[in-house]
């Protein structure tokens, strides 16, 4: 619960510092997905801990010293919000001035994310994909858990009438909103990462309220696994296609006759790839944890 509030709070921090795109992501991740993951992990590991801490005083001293040194370091930093800080004087100025005409879309965050720094983003998507593969290996290896008896721990919320009715109305809207965020990312805040997380949050909510088995029947894990790989493949594939047109890897300018249109197409395609991978990855992670918790509850 506290983690959820913390996530929401830091999201509002980001809005106040003009980072709407980031705030979107943090709101969905910090307030939605992260606490749920923590809760399911806690049901597996147990909530009690031993209270004996090791030498907290030495640790406190170390932390104080490090903090004091860091604060000393900040005295040389540029003041908060100063327009001529070093961070704003190099590439950032070019992104702000040139990107609206060069890429042709108003949201600079999207154009930097999906065009100028498309390589970075490809790397991030691959990291997300790899993490999912890791989670799946760790939590579903060995005995493949059978879904023979779907009575499970995550299903305890089924009896809450109000929650069920409200969420039934909310989930389609959430899915719709995710799609809007996905395809409107060029013009407003949004994009593949945010959309993927929101979409996953909707499905996870469904799984919480109606049971894991029902959610898995609606969206099959095997299909999700394919989709997660497909998203990465789509992203990389766009790069290869731009290769074939004679441009550099992930340089979309020759995907169409007009370079601006070409870039637009490229950005839409890779954002789609990002969205598919992120959504599939988040849902798969939740399935893995919830399935593991269920399997243990049945074993006991």
């Amino acid at each position: 619960m506290l983690a959820g509030i913390y996530g929401l709070l830091s999201a509002s921090f980001f809005v106040s510092m003009d980072a709407v795109d980031v705030a979107f992501t943090e709101a969905a991740v910090g307030a939605g997905v992260f606490p749920l993951l923590m809760l399911t992990a806690l049901t597996v590991t147990g909530r009690y801990e031993q209270t004996a801490h090791r030498r907290p005083r030495a640790a406190f001293f170390l932390v104080l010293v490090t903090g004091a040194l860091l604060i000393l370091g900040t005295l040389d930093m540029p003041p908060f919000g100063s327009p001529d800080a070093p961070a704003h004087t190099h590439v950032a100025a070019r992104y702000i001035q040139v990107s609206p005409t060069e890429i042709g879309i108003p949201n600079m965050v999207t154009s930097v994310l999906a065009d100028y720094r498309a390589f970075d983003t490809l790397g991030e998507v691959v990291v997300v994909f790899t993490a999912v593969v890791g989670v799946l290996i760790l939590l579903t290896s060995g005995e493949q858990r059978q879904q023979s008896s779907p009575a499970n721990a995550v299903e305890t919320m089924r009896s809450h009438m109000i929650l069920r009715v409200v969420s039934k109305m909310l989930i389609p809207l959430m899915l719709l909103f995710a799609l809007y965020v996905q395809f409107h990312g060029d013009y407003g805040p949004g994009g593949g990462f945010q959309a993927g997380v929101i979409f996953a949050a909707a499905i996870i909510l469904y799984a919480m309220l109606f049971g894991l088995a029902k959610a898995q029947a609606a969206i099959k894990p095997s299909i999700l696994r394919l989709l997660a790989a497909f998203g990465v493949l789509l992203y990389g594939g766009v790069g290869v296609v731009s290769f074939l047109t004679g441009a550099n890897y992930l340089d979309y300018s020759r995907l169409a006759a007009d370079p601006v249109v070409g870039r637009h197409i490229g950005i839409l395609a890779i954002e789609l790839g990002v969205g598919i991978t992120v959504a599939a990855a988040m849902i798969l992670i939740f399935y893995a944890f919830a399935g593991y918790a269920t399997g243990r509850a049945e074993a006991e």
């Binding site: 980072a19 992260f34 907290p56 003041p79 800080a85 108003p106």
Partner: protein, 116 residues
């Protein structure tokens, strides 16, 4: 001069809270929560560096000439999603440790390792 640096200090306080939790807590789950707080402090640091006084969100609009720096936003936006994915991986590891050792307390784990 000094009040203008408060954003860094908020970041440092958060970061040190996370650091302290990571050092002192023996419970692996709590260590991960500490790491998460640490991570958020880095996010806030990046975003606050990207803020320009009087600037608006970096989405092209009529009549706005000063924008915040879009670059840190991009970096952190992806870092958040990657962060949750790696956090899930870490939680999965903890779950398996619990399965293999029956505990997630660091000291008990070390004892068990030494006895083997």
């Amino acid at each position: 001069m000094l009040p203008e640096l408060y954003n860094y200090w908020v970041v440092i306080v958060l970061m040190m809270i996370g650091f302290y939790i990571v050092i002192v807590q023996g419970n692996l789950i709590k260590k991960l929560i500490g790491l998460n707080i640490f991570q958020t402090s880095v996010f806030i640091f990046y975003i606050s560096v990207g803020k320009v006084a009087g600037g608006s969100a970096p989405i092209l609009a009529e009549g706005v000439s000063v924008y915040s720096n879009p670059l840190p936003h991009v970096l952190i936006l992806t870092a958040i999603v990657v962060g949750i994915a790696t956090m899930a991986l870490a939680l999965a590891l903890v779950v398996r440790i619990k399965n293999a050792y029956g505990t997630v307390e660091e000291e008990e784990l070390q004892e068990r390792d030494l006895r083997c």
